[in-house]
Protein backbone atom coordinates (compact mmCIF):
# COMPACT_ATOMS: atom_id res chain seq x y z
CA UNK A 1 0.00 0.00 0.00
CA UNK A 2 1.18 3.49 -0.85
CA UNK A 3 1.69 5.88 2.07
CA UNK A 4 -0.49 8.43 0.28
CA UNK A 5 -3.28 5.84 0.43
CA UNK A 6 -2.59 4.99 4.07
CA UNK A 7 -3.13 8.58 5.13
CA UNK A 8 -6.74 8.44 3.90
CA UNK A 9 -7.60 6.19 6.83
CA UNK A 10 -6.64 8.80 9.41
CA UNK A 11 -8.84 11.69 10.41
CA UNK A 12 -8.39 14.72 12.61
CA UNK A 13 -11.16 13.61 14.96
CA UNK A 14 -9.15 10.46 15.71
CA UNK A 15 -5.97 12.33 16.61
CA UNK A 16 -4.66 13.00 20.14
CA UNK A 17 -1.52 15.17 20.19
CA UNK A 18 -0.97 14.52 23.90
CA UNK A 19 -2.63 11.59 25.65
CA UNK A 20 -3.76 11.75 29.27
CA UNK A 21 -3.44 8.02 29.90
CA UNK A 22 -0.63 6.71 32.10
CA UNK A 23 -1.34 2.97 31.88
CA UNK A 24 -1.85 0.39 29.14
CA UNK A 25 -5.56 0.05 29.98
CA UNK A 26 -5.91 3.80 30.02
CA UNK A 27 -4.21 4.19 26.64
CA UNK A 28 -6.42 1.56 25.01
CA UNK A 29 -9.50 3.18 26.54
CA UNK A 30 -8.55 6.73 25.55
CA UNK A 31 -8.04 5.75 21.92
CA UNK A 32 -11.13 3.55 21.81
CA UNK A 33 -13.24 6.38 23.18
CA UNK A 34 -12.45 8.42 20.07
CA UNK A 35 -14.19 5.81 17.91
CA UNK A 36 -17.14 5.76 20.29
CA UNK A 37 -17.40 9.57 20.39
CA UNK A 38 -17.38 9.71 16.59
CA UNK A 39 -19.96 6.89 16.42
CA UNK A 40 -17.64 4.78 14.27
CA UNK A 41 -18.32 1.69 16.36
CA UNK A 42 -21.61 0.62 17.84
CA UNK A 43 -20.67 -1.26 20.96
CA UNK A 44 -17.67 -0.16 23.03
CA UNK A 45 -17.71 -3.29 25.20
CA UNK A 46 -17.40 -5.65 22.24
CA UNK A 47 -14.45 -3.75 20.78
CA UNK A 48 -12.83 -3.43 24.20
CA UNK A 49 -13.11 -7.21 24.57
CA UNK A 50 -11.58 -7.73 21.12
CA UNK A 51 -8.64 -5.40 21.89
CA UNK A 52 -7.96 -7.23 25.16
CA UNK A 53 -8.05 -10.58 23.43
CA UNK A 54 -5.60 -9.20 20.88
CA UNK A 55 -3.23 -8.28 23.70
CA UNK A 56 -3.61 -11.86 24.98
CA UNK A 57 -2.34 -13.06 21.61
CA UNK A 58 0.76 -10.90 22.12
CA UNK A 59 1.48 -7.30 23.01
CA UNK A 60 0.90 -4.91 20.15
CA UNK A 61 3.72 -2.83 21.59
CA UNK A 62 6.17 -3.64 18.79
CA UNK A 63 9.15 -1.90 20.37
CA UNK A 64 11.05 1.35 19.73
CA UNK A 65 8.32 3.30 21.53
CA UNK A 66 5.52 2.20 19.19
CA UNK A 67 2.25 0.31 19.76
CA UNK A 68 -0.28 -0.64 17.11
CA UNK A 69 -3.33 -2.10 18.89
CA UNK A 70 -5.50 -3.57 16.17
CA UNK A 71 -8.20 -6.02 15.24
CA UNK A 72 -11.21 -6.83 13.18
CA UNK A 73 -14.59 -6.48 14.78
CA UNK A 74 -18.13 -7.04 13.63
CA UNK A 75 -18.97 -3.80 15.47
CA UNK A 76 -17.24 -1.64 12.81
CA UNK A 77 -18.14 -0.91 9.18
CA UNK A 78 -14.87 0.53 7.86
CA UNK A 79 -11.14 0.60 8.55
CA UNK A 80 -10.22 3.53 10.78
CA UNK A 81 -6.96 4.47 12.49
CA UNK A 82 -6.61 6.60 15.60
CA UNK A 83 -3.31 8.19 16.57
CA UNK A 84 -2.19 9.22 20.02
CA UNK A 85 1.11 10.47 21.39
CA UNK A 86 2.39 10.31 24.94
CA UNK A 87 5.49 12.43 25.52
CA UNK A 88 6.06 10.84 28.93
CA UNK A 89 5.64 7.32 27.59
CA UNK A 90 3.41 4.53 28.86
CA UNK A 91 4.30 1.04 30.05
CA UNK A 92 2.50 -1.04 27.42
CA UNK A 93 4.22 -4.38 28.03
CA UNK A 94 6.04 -3.81 24.74
CA UNK A 95 8.28 -6.54 23.36
CA UNK A 96 11.41 -4.50 24.20
CA UNK A 97 9.92 -3.53 27.60
CA UNK A 98 10.44 0.15 26.81
CA UNK A 99 7.71 2.77 27.30
CA UNK A 100 5.47 3.51 24.34
CA UNK A 101 5.13 7.06 23.03
CA UNK A 102 3.37 6.55 19.68
CA UNK A 103 0.03 4.73 19.46
CA UNK A 104 -1.84 3.75 16.32
CA UNK A 105 -5.16 1.97 16.93
CA UNK A 106 -6.46 0.19 13.83
CA UNK A 107 -10.07 -1.03 13.86
CA UNK A 108 -11.38 -2.98 10.89
CA UNK A 109 -14.67 -4.69 9.97
CA UNK A 110 -14.89 -8.46 9.37
CA UNK A 111 -14.81 -7.85 5.60
CA UNK A 112 -13.08 -4.86 4.17
CA UNK A 113 -13.34 -3.68 0.63
CA UNK A 114 -10.09 -4.41 -1.23
CA UNK A 115 -8.63 -6.34 1.72
CA UNK A 116 -6.74 -3.32 2.95
CA UNK A 117 -6.50 -4.17 6.64
CA UNK A 118 -3.32 -6.26 6.56
CA UNK A 119 -1.60 -3.96 4.01
CA UNK A 120 -2.43 -1.03 6.31
CA UNK A 121 -0.77 -2.78 9.24
CA UNK A 122 2.23 -3.67 7.08
CA UNK A 123 2.68 -0.14 5.77
CA UNK A 124 2.35 1.31 9.27
CA UNK A 125 5.07 -1.05 10.54
CA UNK A 126 7.32 -0.02 7.64
CA UNK A 127 6.78 3.70 8.28
CA UNK A 128 7.40 3.26 12.00
CA UNK A 129 10.53 1.17 11.57
CA UNK A 130 12.18 4.34 10.25
CA UNK A 131 13.77 6.23 13.14
CA UNK A 132 13.46 9.55 11.31
CA UNK A 133 9.66 9.07 11.05
CA UNK A 134 9.39 8.15 14.73
CA UNK A 135 11.44 11.17 15.77
CA UNK A 136 9.27 13.47 13.67
CA UNK A 137 6.07 11.94 15.05
CA UNK A 138 7.28 12.58 18.59
CA UNK A 139 7.27 16.28 17.77
CA UNK A 140 3.81 16.56 16.18
CA UNK A 141 1.30 18.84 17.81
CA UNK A 142 -1.36 19.04 15.09
CA UNK A 143 -2.97 16.84 12.48
CA UNK A 144 -1.56 19.14 9.79
CA UNK A 145 1.98 18.34 11.04
CA UNK A 146 1.15 14.66 11.21
CA UNK A 147 -0.10 14.07 7.65
CA UNK A 148 3.18 14.78 5.75
CA UNK A 149 5.08 12.36 8.01
CA UNK A 150 2.67 9.58 7.08
CA UNK A 151 2.70 10.42 3.37
CA UNK A 152 6.51 10.71 3.37
CA UNK A 153 6.63 14.28 2.17
Amino acid sequence: MQRTELVNHFQEKLFIPEMHATTKEGALGELLDLFVREKLIRNRDLVWEMLHQRETLGSTGIGKGVAIPHGRTTAASNVFIAFGKSSKGIDFDAIDKKPVHLFFMVIAPPHDEGNIYLPILGTLVTVLNDKNNRDRLLEVSSFADFVPIITGE
Partner: protein
Protein backbone atom coordinates in the same frame (compact mmCIF):
# COMPACT_ATOMS: atom_id res chain seq x y z
CA UNK B 1 -33.24 -15.44 22.40
CA UNK B 2 -31.48 -12.36 23.73
CA UNK B 3 -29.24 -9.73 22.23
CA UNK B 4 -26.62 -11.19 24.54
CA UNK B 5 -26.54 -14.24 22.25
CA UNK B 6 -25.76 -12.07 19.25
CA UNK B 7 -23.07 -10.20 21.15
CA UNK B 8 -21.46 -13.47 22.23
CA UNK B 9 -21.46 -14.58 18.61
CA UNK B 10 -19.88 -11.28 17.58
CA UNK B 11 -17.12 -11.81 20.16
CA UNK B 12 -16.67 -15.39 18.96
CA UNK B 13 -16.33 -14.26 15.36
CA UNK B 14 -13.89 -11.49 16.36
CA UNK B 15 -11.78 -14.17 18.07
CA UNK B 16 -12.02 -16.50 15.07
CA UNK B 17 -10.88 -13.72 12.73
CA UNK B 18 -7.95 -12.97 15.03
CA UNK B 19 -6.92 -16.63 15.16
CA UNK B 20 -7.35 -16.95 11.39
CA UNK B 21 -5.05 -13.97 10.67
CA UNK B 22 -2.48 -14.59 13.43
CA UNK B 23 0.11 -16.07 11.08
CA UNK B 24 -0.15 -13.16 8.64
CA UNK B 25 0.00 -10.64 11.48
CA UNK B 26 3.11 -12.36 12.85
CA UNK B 27 4.79 -12.06 9.44
CA UNK B 28 4.30 -8.28 9.70
CA UNK B 29 6.38 -8.24 12.88
CA UNK B 30 3.78 -8.55 15.65
CA UNK B 31 4.10 -10.86 18.62
CA UNK B 32 1.67 -13.80 18.67
CA UNK B 33 3.09 -15.75 21.60
CA UNK B 34 -0.35 -16.20 23.15
CA UNK B 35 -1.87 -18.21 20.30
CA UNK B 36 -2.80 -21.15 22.55
CA UNK B 37 -4.33 -18.86 25.20
CA UNK B 38 -6.47 -17.29 22.49
CA UNK B 39 -7.63 -20.71 21.27
CA UNK B 40 -8.56 -21.58 24.87
CA UNK B 41 -10.50 -18.31 25.25
CA UNK B 42 -12.32 -19.14 22.02
CA UNK B 43 -13.29 -22.61 23.24
CA UNK B 44 -14.48 -21.22 26.59
CA UNK B 45 -16.68 -18.67 24.85
CA UNK B 46 -18.03 -21.26 22.41
CA UNK B 47 -18.95 -23.43 25.40
CA UNK B 48 -21.37 -20.84 26.84
CA UNK B 49 -23.21 -20.22 23.55
CA UNK B 50 -26.35 -22.27 23.06
CA UNK B 51 -25.66 -25.33 20.93
CA UNK B 52 -28.16 -24.69 18.09
CA UNK B 53 -26.89 -21.13 17.69
CA UNK B 54 -23.27 -22.23 17.74
CA UNK B 55 -24.06 -24.90 15.16
CA UNK B 56 -25.72 -22.30 12.95
CA UNK B 57 -22.70 -20.01 13.34
CA UNK B 58 -20.19 -22.78 12.55
CA UNK B 59 -22.17 -23.86 9.50
CA UNK B 60 -22.28 -20.31 8.14
CA UNK B 61 -18.58 -19.80 8.88
CA UNK B 62 -17.70 -22.98 6.98
CA UNK B 63 -19.75 -21.90 3.99
CA UNK B 64 -19.29 -18.13 3.89
CA UNK B 65 -16.22 -17.39 6.08
CA UNK B 66 -18.06 -14.56 7.83
CA UNK B 67 -21.17 -15.73 9.67
CA UNK B 68 -22.23 -12.37 11.11
CA UNK B 69 -21.88 -9.13 9.21
CA UNK B 70 -22.52 -5.50 10.07
CA UNK B 71 -25.44 -3.65 8.51
CA UNK B 72 -24.82 -0.01 7.76
CA UNK B 73 -27.39 2.31 6.15
CA UNK B 74 -29.62 -0.76 5.70
CA UNK B 75 -26.97 -2.51 3.57
CA UNK B 76 -25.69 -5.99 4.47
CA UNK B 77 -21.90 -5.61 4.42
CA UNK B 78 -21.55 -9.29 3.53
CA UNK B 79 -23.25 -9.22 0.12
CA UNK B 80 -24.04 -5.47 -0.15
CA UNK B 81 -27.74 -6.06 -0.67
CA UNK B 82 -30.09 -3.44 0.76
CA UNK B 83 -32.25 -4.80 3.58
CA UNK B 84 -35.90 -3.85 3.98
CA UNK B 85 -36.21 -0.77 6.20
CA UNK B 86 -38.80 -2.60 8.30
CA UNK B 87 -36.22 -5.30 9.06
CA UNK B 88 -33.79 -2.65 10.29
CA UNK B 89 -36.29 -1.33 12.82
CA UNK B 90 -36.81 -4.85 14.18
CA UNK B 91 -33.14 -5.75 13.98
CA UNK B 92 -32.12 -2.84 16.16
CA UNK B 93 -34.75 -3.48 18.81
CA UNK B 94 -35.90 -7.09 18.83
CA UNK B 95 -34.24 -9.92 20.65
CA UNK B 96 -34.44 -12.06 17.55
CA UNK B 97 -31.44 -12.64 15.29
CA UNK B 98 -32.17 -11.74 11.67
CA UNK B 99 -30.48 -13.03 8.57
CA UNK B 100 -29.85 -11.49 5.16
CA UNK B 101 -32.40 -12.87 2.71
CA UNK B 102 -29.78 -12.85 -0.01
CA UNK B 103 -26.61 -14.32 1.53
CA UNK B 104 -28.02 -15.92 4.68
CA UNK B 105 -25.54 -14.33 7.06
CA UNK B 106 -26.64 -13.16 10.50
CA UNK B 107 -27.01 -9.40 10.69
CA UNK B 108 -25.64 -6.94 13.24
CA UNK B 109 -26.96 -3.38 12.90
CA UNK B 110 -24.40 -0.66 13.46
CA UNK B 111 -26.69 2.37 13.29
Amino acid sequence: MFKKDLEQLVSLQDLDLMIEEAVEVEKLGFSVTGYNELKTAREELAHVITKPLLFRYERLRAKLKRAIVPVKNDVCLGCFLRQPTSLGAKGREDDQIFTCENCGRMLYWLD
